[in-house]
Structures are given as C-alpha cells and as structure tokens.
Point group: D2
Chain length 367, copies 4
C-alpha cells in the first residue's frame, strides 16, 4: 500500500490564506511562486526582484501578481505575512533581517546564510520576535525522504551503522562557492532530517581537490561520526560524467538505499546484514563464533507522487499557524552551516578533524 506522510499538514480548509511574497526571480524563485500560488494555504501577494522585467515574467502567467523592485517597496505597498527569499546566498542575511525586523515570517533558500555567524543572527532575531524562520531544505519534503524519516523513527532499520551519500555529476563550476557548499547542503539537510537527534557531529574531516586549477574544490569527501560509533560519508563532485544521487543508510536490522535517479524503484529496503553478538569471551572466540548473516527479502515501498515544494510551503504555513518550529527550521539550517564551516576549516587544514560549533542550548526550543 502507498504510505501517506500523514503526520505532515494535509491540505485543509484554512479560514484565511496567508499572504506571501517571493524575493528573487532567478532560478528557484519561479518554483516557489508557483507553489505558493497553487496550494490552499497561501495567497501569492507579490514578486520582488531588482530586475522588474524578470519579476514580471513570472508574475504575468500566475495571474498578474504585483511586482516590486525591492523588499522596502514591497513593505511600503502591501501587507504580507511572510517572505520567501530566493536571492543569492550572500544576500540572504540582509534580506532576512530586514523582513524579520518588519515582523514577517521568513523562508530561506539553502544555504541559510553565507556563514554560521550570519545564520546565527537570523535565528536569534527570529527567536526574539517570535517569528518562524524556515530553511528551504526541499529534499526533506520529497516522498522518499519523508518515508525514510518515518522508517528510521519507527525503528525499521534498527541502529544506524553508516550513511553514505553520493551526489556527483557534470556540474556547473560555481563562481563563488566550492563543491562542498554547492552540493553537500542537500545531503547534510537530509541527514539532519532523518537522524533522530539531528545533525550534531563533534568534528568533521573534509578532503577535496581542484585538479583543474579553478581556485576551489571541485571534488570532495566529507566524513564525520554519527552516534554509537557509526559514520557518515558524503561524496560531492562536479567533474563526473555520470550522474549519481544515492544515499545508503546501513542499519543493524535493515539497510536502505535511496537511488533518486531510479523513478521505478527509488527506495529499496534490504533485510540483509551482519549479526554480531557481543559475547563475553576472548576477542578471537567472539569474532569466530558470533557473526552471522541475514539474507532476507528486499522491499521497495511505493511512494506517493507529490511535489516536495508543495509539501514544504504547506509546512511553512502550518508552522506559522501553530506557532511551532518547522520541520526544517532555522536551527536546522544553522546545523548545516555549522558542518559546512567546519568542513571548510578542515579543508584548509589538510583534512584535519575540525570542531563543529553548535551554539548554545537556547536554540533548541526556537523556531
């Protein structure tokens, strides 16, 4: 049977729609605008872009939504409950602070900010004002990731033994960020989403290479420990002629493979593994006696055909209405930044373990 991610907010009959403006009409903005427009929770109130023609190009087909050249002009002219920021990463902080100061809830495209420090300011301000700050970790709202989160939470995989995520393809060499900052936020946000305790490694080690001399890493490997002596590894690569999007989550009971480029079998759950009984004898005996293998069935759960972005904007509305942190809160965005910054430091230090700054406990309750 098709499992529905039923703990997610379902489309209901909201009394009144919330009003949202999309800031940034480049690559991602149109997708956000379309989803604010089509869902039951939102009214798309405006498109904002310095390039008004570009804003108009989106706004026209969506029913002549008003356009503004900047956030100030928007705030002067119309009432909105929330803004969704899809501008370049280096501007997220400025725009978000301005919006939060004006009392608006804020959704921010990944990464939350260009640095941990800036992200922390955003999170703090949102907490001070009692506003929702949400990270647009879109992959977390795919039916596959929602199913994985549920399986992990239900204990179907047992203890997590390892996570291995590969995200490689022939990609654009980005002008401002390296391959870690470009691609790894996807993997990190999903790990944050599915691990019961979130993404909280003490240290990370990053290894990269720039064989073309572009001035930044184009190939990268990131490793860090997970609870209970498990480990995570993320491989990102802009130079691979073959495209792979695959995450393996090895568990003590079952192992799950998410192959996002195989629409016919995106998730496979293997009831196979190694059983290792810890018995109190000598190491040699223990090893010899206590290992066995399971070779059970494979199961591929059916997934509902739902657009991740639609579920994401619904969660944004629900978190505002219910006054609770969203599932991919600003704090989640910050946890991803924490790891990315530590990765950059490790990279500069030739792969040495780099401590991940986690901030203070206050953050926990915030949204």
């Amino acid at each position: 049977m098709v499992s529905t991610p039923d703990s997610l907010p379902q489309p209901g009959q909201p009394q009144t729609r919330l009003r949202a403006a999309v800031i940034g009409a480049g690559y991602w903005g149109p997708n956000l605008a379309r989803n604010f427009k089509s869902g039951p929770d939102w009214e798309l109130a405006a498109i904002v872009d310095m390039d008004l023609a570009r804003a108009q190009k989106i706004a026209g087909p969506l029913g002549d939504v008003p356009v503004y050249p900047g956030l100030a002009e928007l705030l002067d002219s119309t009432e909105v409950d929330a803004v969704a920021i899809a501008t370049p990463a280096r501007t997220h902080h400025v725009v978000a602070l301005q919006a939060l100061e004006a009392g608006k809830h804020v959704l921010v495209e990944k990464p939350l900010a260009a640095s941990r420090e800036l992200g922390l300011q955003m999170v703090d301000l949102a907490a001070d004002r009692g506003l929702t700050l949400m990270a647009d970790h879109t992959y977390c709202y795919t039916p596959a990731a929602l199913k994985i989160r549920q399986l992990v939470a239900d204990g179907e995989l047992g203890d997590i033994l390892f996570i291995d995520s590969v995200r490689i393809n022939l990609g654009l060499v980005q002008p401002d960020v390296d391959v870690f900052w470009d691609l790894a936020p996807h993997d990190l946000s999903v790990i944050d989403f599915i691990m019961p305790g979130g993404l909280r490694p003490d240290t990370v080690a990053a290894h990269g290479a720039d064989p073309l001399g572009t001035g930044k890493s184009c190939v990268g490997h990131l490793t860090f420990a997970l609870p209970n002596n498990a480990m995570a590894h993320i491989n990102v690569n802009w130079l691979s002629p073959t495209k792979i999007r695959r995450m393996v989550i090895g568990g003590s009971k079952r192992t799950l493979v998410w192959d996002d480029l195989n629409p016919q079998q995106r998730l496979s759950v293997y009831d196979r593994g190694v059983n290792f009984e810890k018995v109190s004898t000598t190491p040699a005996q223990r090893t010899a006696q206590a290992i066995s293998y399971r070779l059970g069935d494979t199961w591929s759960p059916a997934l509902p055909e739902k657009e991740a972005l639609g579920l994401m904007v619904a969660e944004f509305a629900a978190s505002i209405r219910e006054g609770r942190p969203s599932r991919t809160s600003g704090a989640a965005g910050l946890r991803v930044l924490n790891v990315l910054e530590a990765a950059s430091r490790s990279l500069a230090d030739n792969g040495e373990q780099s401590f991940v700054a986690h901030g203070n406990v206050q953050l926990e309750g915030i949204r």
Copy 2:
C-alpha cells in the same frame, strides 16, 4: 575491435617448462594450481600443505601431482624453479625468505606481507639473490585493468583528475585484519598498476568505523593526493547489502568507469567533461569565461575473455626468463603495504594525514 593486451607475454613455444610448486591448499591455492597446470609455460611440480589430505584433494584431479607437508620436504625431494605462496598473510614472510634462500623465484598472494618491514626484507633478499619476487595482484591482469593501463599510457584519458574506487558488499568480517587490509589492496594495486608513476602518495588519510563493536573497522574511506592536484578515494565496506565494484577514473580528456559487476559493459569511456582554460585575467573573469562542457559519445571497448590468473602466471614465467621485474613486482606489493600501514596509522590518529614511507631509490631497478 577487440584489443589484445599484446605487450603481455603471449603463449609461445617455450623450450622447457618452468617447474612450480603451490604452497597452501586453502581458498586461493587451487586456483593457482589449476593455472600453473593449464598454461604452456609451467609444469605444476607439487602442492604443499601441512594438511596433506587437503593438498591431495587438489593434486588428484590435476593428474596426481606430488604433495608435501612443508616447504622443507618439497625442497628436499624435488627440483622446482619457483614457488607460489598462498598461505595466510602472516606466514608469507617466513615462507618467502626460506624459498628465496633456496634460490627459488617467488610469487606471493596479496598482501605481500603482514607489514611493510617484513615486505621490505623480502624485496631486499630477492634483489640480493637476483630472483623474481612477484605480487599476485590478480585484478591487474584482468582484461579490464590491462585495457585501462593501456588507455592511460596512451593519453586517451588526458591528465588524471580523480580516481574513486568503491568495493562494498556483505562481506566476511575477518578475524585478523580490518576492512582496509582485507579489501583495499585490490584497489591500491590497480591504482599502482595504471598510474604511470605507480602508487606513491606522500600522505594518506583514513577514516573508519566499527559500529558493530567487532574490534576493527568494518567501513572505511581512504583518501590521498595524486600528482597534479588530483585525488584518489577508496571506499571499502563489509556491511553493505548491495555489492558494488566500481572504479571511476576522471581525466581531463575523457573519464572511464569500470563496473566490474556489469559483464555486458564492464568499461565505459565518456568523452565528456569540463574544459577549463587558465587565462591570465582576474579570477572572477577567468571563472566566468573559461569554463565549457563537452558532451560527446560514450564508448565501451570490447574485452577479450581471458582469465586473469592465466595471464598472471604467464607474466611470472616471462619475468623469470627475461630477468626483469614483473609488472606486479615485489616493489609494487611493497608500495601497497606502504599505503596500508600509513592508513592504519592515520586511522589510529583519528584521520590525520599520515606519511607514507617509500624506502630508498635502489628499489627501482629490482625485480
């Protein structure tokens, strides 16, 4: 057209066959015995194993080859030119030294020895005596690896940008070695074989995990630099329910994927990649202007159906007859040990870069 690895020794009409004994009748010995038996270069003179019944079980079907309980008994009783050692790794050193002292050429199953120090003694002794010491790096003699070596040497891939090798499956947790020592020798020996300068990283970093508490790493990642700012990464894993044997070799001209579990298309050569012209302007301009993409054809060379072990024992004979180092010489086996030992140190040091001891230049000419 099918390319023949024609620089390899081809079966000829040798005046006299060389005589070989196989030491060790466990897992690998029977394969060696069968190939010494069937090829044109060798006469299989004896099988040696403490367990004579086990030796007999191989020797019978191969034409009642004589069996002996030990190397001493073999040397006392019959004349051989060479021995092939397929005993447990910790005994390679003792048996090899004994054979070399007796003036026999020696082939050793991987890994060459249980430590770099012991391997170095073997290499030195063989050099002193003018004998062939060869590492049984079987994968190097597969048609796929021979083809890759040729393509790299011919410049078909251009400069190597990255190598990524994944060797994971539900594997036996070994009693005496961790997953690095069990599986990575295959990847390392192939990299040594195909890289024009061999396997000579200055440092390596290893990250592993033992989530089942077996007392050794069951999941591992190894990274090291390759010449010209390229990097290599090896992923080994005993706990994966899916089996993957794939090496990607990214080049500036083309990228090659070796998928050893896809017999219908083991090698794929992608004429795709990123072109990056280094031009002498500001970094921002350079990045913006000089990157382009190639999306060319994919080509899968036909490979001859030849058994790697057969080609390997032929190379053993040729290296003896021609008085030259074999393609997978003792020095090659030592280079693999160098990296494995450094990996173990890195693992103990929490992933810190660990220097690889390379020994002295004298080694170069030896066989």
Copy 3:
C-alpha cells in the same frame, strides 16, 4: 562529438513568419501551441476549441493569442497559413477536409484518421490542392530517431535483420481504441521513418488478449516481414507494471538498441553479431564452416538536447516553403493506418496474416 541532424531544416532568418492556428486545447494542443510560439518560423495566430475557457487557458500565458470556438469562426476572422489538428482522432478527418478546402496546410496528430479510407481522402485532397498534409509523428523528430535514420541510411548497421519494439507500461485503458491503435502508431511511424523504403509490409499478423474483459485488446503483439527475409515485432501492453520503451534494430554489421528510458545512454550501437558466409557447398558443411562471431566495441553516440516538437514544427514550415512532402507526410501517416487496419483484421481472424492495402502509386510524389 555531438552529431547534429544537419540535413534537418535549421533555424534561419525567414523573411516572414507563417501563421498557424492550433485546433484543440486538450492534452496535446498546448505542446503544439508552445512550439509554434517559440520557434523562428511561425507566428501562433489562434487557439481553437469549443470550450473557449480551455482555449483561453493556453492562450493567455502565450501572450493573449486570440481564441475561437471553431474552425469556421477562425477562418472568418483571421488569416492563417496552416492549422494543427489536436482534436480527438475521430474528428481529424472532418476538420482536416474543412481546412484543406479553405486552402490551409494541415498538420494532424497521430493517428492521421480513424480509418484508412478517411485518411486516404485527406491525402488525396491535399494532393489535389497542392497543400502540405503532415502527420505529427513526434517520435520521429527525437534526436534518437534522427540519429538512427542517419545510421541506417549511411549503412552503419548493414542490412536490417530484425526490428523488435517493446512499448509497455501501466497505461490508461482507452475508451475508444485498443492497445494497438493507442500505442503501436509510435513504433510503426518510427519504423516507417528509419527504413529506407518506409513501412510497406505485404501482410501483418496480430495477436492480442483482453484478460480483464474490457472489450478490447490490452496486450498485443504485431509481426510482419521486412525486406530481405527480415522481420519486425511490436509488443504493446497496458497492463505491465514496469515501463519499457525499447527498440532493437539488428543489422548484419551492427545492432542498435534504443532505450528511451535511459537518458544516460539512450542509444547503444553494438559492433557484435553473427557472420554467415553463404558458400556453395552442402547445407551441413555450410553451416558448420561459415558461421563466426564478432565481439567488438559498443558505442553510444551523444545526442543533442533538442525538443522533438520544435524540430517537427520547423519541418512543417520547411515543407510548406519548399513545396515538398514533409519527412512525416500524410502518406507516411497513411502507411501507419494501413498497417493498423490490417492488424485489426488479423486480430479478428485469430492472428491470420492479413493483407495490407497500400493504395496506388500516385501517392508517392504527393505531400
């Protein structure tokens, strides 16, 4: 290198754009409208649909294109050079005749008409009036099909030995047509497109099944002879839980596989096959002596990323301007109908070979 289908009309600088109206705003019409709008050859002059609201829904975002409730209203109000018919198949004939009578060039969605007889009238009328009648055989304009046509024409595959086309998935059981009429036109039009002499079998045999009792075949197999003792087989199926879109074209020199659901390797050309020399000895000797196998490389040509519909509307314009039959002319559409009708007769006759009516030779020169 990426091969360009360079004998296709390339976007040029036409003096004046041709004016087209799209008739039918259902499933396919919007795609046609978008391509008439975006290419350099056409001006999208109107959308016609009885349901004006539906027409408007397409027309608005494309720049407020005028809408009309019927062809008569269109012809009364505005000047067009051509119409593209995307109405239900049973109405193609009426609309096309009306448009041709009014002197308009006509593009018709597949199948050309609901019967051979009706299709023949359309072809005859277009010939009489000197107008272009073109079948929208979209698949023929995919980069894959264009490449195949070129490879066949260049003799790269040698003589065609067999064609096997599988088009199966969990599909809509159509209310009015069986699985042959729903799916096989795609395969038949491609075979017509790539075979040098087009689709001209003398007879066809069809076998089908209706295991759910829907009143029409849901599973079907169609076989017919190709020139030189070769054969074609088409498998269509609405009840398959796995989706396959694969055509194999076996040739005496090479064999090509088109796997349309594998975007990373859509075309594979295998330089493998059986060589059979016909020698003038006894049959037994001949068989024993003259068969050999080739096991050569596999090659996957890169394909340009072009939308088939864009190339199709460009060809429509070129055929009008140059006064020549289009590559998928009305006669091609008729050849597909000829086979479908014969298939239906064979199906009714329990799979007996059914003659394919080919009409008279006059048809050849027409457009």
Copy 4:
C-alpha cells in the same frame, strides 16, 4: 526470510543409495555426473560414451567411476537403477527405449525426443513398465522457478493475465534445430511448471525469420492462449548482441518479473496493476467508471542459493522411491514437444494457428 521450497524432497537419510549411469559425456553429461556424485540419494555407477577417452575425462576426477562405450555394455556389466540420457536429441528415443526395456528409470535431457511421436512412445513404454520417465527441465528447479510456482499456487498473483518470456542473445546457430527448438523448451517447460493446469494450449502461432539465409529460423515469436483469455508470448533470438532472460507473469493481483541475469534482484513482485470491475451497465459507462490503478510496493523475495541440478536429481530419486510422477515428468516433456511441433507447423503455414495434439487422457496418471 528466505523461503525454502519445502515441499521438494529434502536431503534425508535414505536407506540405500540408488545407482545411476550417465549416458553421454559431452556438454551436459559432466554436470549431471557431478550432481549424481555429490547428492545423498545417488551413487554414480558409470559414465557411458562411445568416446571412452571423453568418458574417462569425467570419470577420473569423480573417483574413477567405471566407463563403458555403450548402454549394452553398461547393462551387461553392472547393476543400475536408472540412467540419465545426455546424448544428442535425435538419439534420446533409441537410448530411452533400450533402457526402459531393461527396466531402468530414465531421466532425459531436454527436449524429450526429436518429435512428439517418439516422445509418446517413450511415455507409453514407461507407463507400461511402471517406471519413472523424467524430463530434465533444469530451469524448473531453480530457486526462482520454484518460488514462482509456489506464489502462483498460493494465489499471490491472482489470475494470470499474460506471460511474456524473452530469451535472446548472440547464440550458436545450431546445425540441426531452429531457434524455437533450441531455446523455447526452457520457456515452455517453465510455463508448464508454474501454470496450475500445465501447458495445454489448443493452438499456437509461430512467426520466425532467417535473415542470414542459414536455412532455419534464427529469430522467433510464439504466441498462444492461456486459460481465461490470457495470452503467452515467447521471444527467442540467436542474433541479439544483448543477452536477456526475462519472464513477466502479469496477474490480476500482482505482477512478477523474473530477470535471471540480475543476481541481486532476480524476482520482483509488483503490487501494481489495473483493477477492472465488470459492472452491468452500458459498455461506455463501464469502461469509464470501473477502471482504477493500484500503485503499491515492490517486493523481491530472497532466494536460497541452491543448484537447480542438485534439486532435480533429488526429485528424480524421490519420484522413483515414491512411485509417483516427477514434477517434470515424461508427460511434461511431451507437452513441451506438443507445442514445439505445432509451432513448427504454424511456421511452415506462415504463422497460421496450428492445433496442438494433446494425446489421450490416460497420460494423466503416468509417471
């Protein structure tokens, strides 16, 4: 969990081993000999081949089993309970009759005989003498086929809607038989094995091609009806550069795909399909209202790693001991011949439906 085909005879503690001789030391005989040797039910008593050296080559490694140049010599010299015939197909009949006359149980490699008539004589004689005659339909004893038979019998697939079997590769053009007789027995024997009522079509239609002029079909398609308006299709091809071994069994509840070349997921069971409720309204309404789709999970049962031939010889022993027909009895072999002969007639008649002779009801109880 791994399902065990537990209704198959399990290795037990037989009081005495049965004695078997293998007739024919060519391609298949060694495999039979090895399995008679290694199982608990049998004693391998002799190898028979006109070419005694060839017989000796097998007999030696198996423990110096006696060899004989012919069946007569065997029967004169030693006592056996059964013979396994692995000689060329045209000699099966003569050898089998001779053995049955001598009171021996008989196992025959596929096809049972060179014609239906000869096969019928073998079946009749075995029935007269109360001896086991068994067809070596090896594929039926693979863990995959055993699992499929069990799933069908348990009703897990619901009613069978269609069976589609593809068995294509670059194969040897056989000197004496066409591609139907060479490859289709595998598919037919499996269909006989898994269909509750066995393989009993009233008619079959065969379409083939000989594009190389070898004098026999090298490409073939076979279709026939299954109970309840379902249909079967078998595609065999010697000229395909890609190898496919795939059988799809579409059911009203679930659909199963057996991909024999994918060892990591040989069987996939899709809980997907079309639901069609037959309601007593007008056809148009019925179609519109009553069709729905299921898109459920996919399940890949784990299969035990057992050699089919081992299970087959165990079944041979069990059928002898229990005095019952084996699961792949002579009658099953005859049903396969019935279809092959009808296919040959259909082929000669240009694909016309050809009646399948089924013989008389007496056959049912025989073994």
